[in-house]
Symmetry: C2
Subunit: 208 residues, 2 copies
DNA sequence: AATGTATTCTTTGTATACAATGGATTATAC
DNA sequence: GTATAATCCATTGTATACAAAGAATACATT
């Protein structure tokens, strides 16, 4: 939601609950959304649904088809589309970040990745690395302070989070790439920052 | 709107009327939107407003500030943001189009530009060229069939249309660029298609 | 005059009420 | 039994009704 998260709006509550229902698989892809059912299930009237539906459509979780409002089916083809766009958006994020990023942030991100990487090497646990990864990408998008970029990123962010687990490449492969990107950022090299990020993300697309 | 344009929904009507009010300048940047006023002005109840507001926010015409829902102020900084994102999105559109575009479409677009260009040379009238330009970019986005790309493009399309008049470069400058892009597309060269489009669009950014 | 306190009034979010559309189902005719 | 007509029912879009939160105004006290 573009609205301030967790404000007291029932619309926000509805948005979050439906989102979770979809991600948890309780609402199945292709399933028709019936306002009354949802309203009763969540315990609100139908009024706040309409706004929440708009937001859920915007964030690619629901679609209006000929039958009505349905849960989106996340085909491989569709997820590739998400990744293709994500790639250029984050490439741009990198370019914009290169202009303004400060040394402290670069160092912070480098240690974040390195500790997570070492943890993975020792324990085999991917969780920390995954978190660092999300953090990294989110941070770069924010640093650029381009509101359009931030929005477009957020719209598909739910999806990238929800579906990235299966397709993430091994840290042994991505860690050096992340370091290269950080190097380019440190040198404030806009073009190679963008280019490296683009290539980094595009390498994941074939795996989808 | 993502919804089928011109369907009988009052929400759609509200969306379009408010959009026009903003573009025509009857609703001024920074102005606070008061539901009752808008509802009466348009002749509907407050109910369909909420959904329309969500769509207008998504399309960057309205923003929720601390005072409430207001008309966006389109600063140069903001329009640069739009253009920065537009550049990478259309760069991607070009890359995707290069994969699938057929010769007929390339020829169609080439003649479209050329006749418009010649018309401008003779009469000095920019209108046809502007239309060809919009057509060109819209077409490329559509050809790629990437739903995320199409949406993100559409979200800011109202703005690029509304504010491009002042910043368009001269056809004498852009016509060769357009031809180069079409050449690359004809050769199905993904990378240079993308690159050329990127450079083409980024050249307008400094003018904003 | 300035500050603090009540008390309206405005505005909003949400719930309920109503009407229309479309699909399913039953009934009827052949 | 099939085809067509009529009726219901589910579902949705929109309008109105209501309650709460905040801003603005009026009043009182010093």
């Amino acid at each position: 939601m573009s609205r301030i998260a967790n404000s007291g709006y029932l619309e926000t509550k509805v948005y979050n609950e439906i989102k979770d229902l979809i991600i948890q698989g309780e609402l199945k892809p292709g399933e028709l959304i019936i306002q009354d059912q949802i309203a009763k299930r969540i315990g609100v009237s139908r009024t706040p649904l309409r706004r929440a539906f708009a937001d859920l459509e915007r964030d690619y979780l629901l679609v209006t088809t000929t039958q009505g409002l349905t849960v989106r089916t996340f085909s491989a083809e569709f997820l590739i589309s998400v990744w293709e766009v994500r790639s250029v958006l984050e490439g741009l994020a990198c370019r914009l970040s290169a202009r303004v990023i400060d040394k402290a942030t670069v160092i912070y991100l480098r240690t974040l990745f390195t500790t997570a990487y070492e943890e993975w090497l020792e324990t085999g646990d991917l969780d920390a690395y995954r978190k660092a990864d999300v953090m990294f990408h989110t941070k770069l998008v924010d640093i650029g302070e381009n509101p359009i970029l931030i929005n477009n990123f957020n719209y598909s962010h739910v999806l990238t989070i929800a579906f990235s687990k299966g397709i993430l490449r091994s840290p042994s492969e991505t860690y050096p790439e992340h370091m290269q990107i950080l190097d380019a950022l440190e040198e404030k090299d806009e073009s190679s920052s963008e280019q490296l990020m683009l290539e980094h993300l595009r390498k994941t697309i074939p795996k989808i």
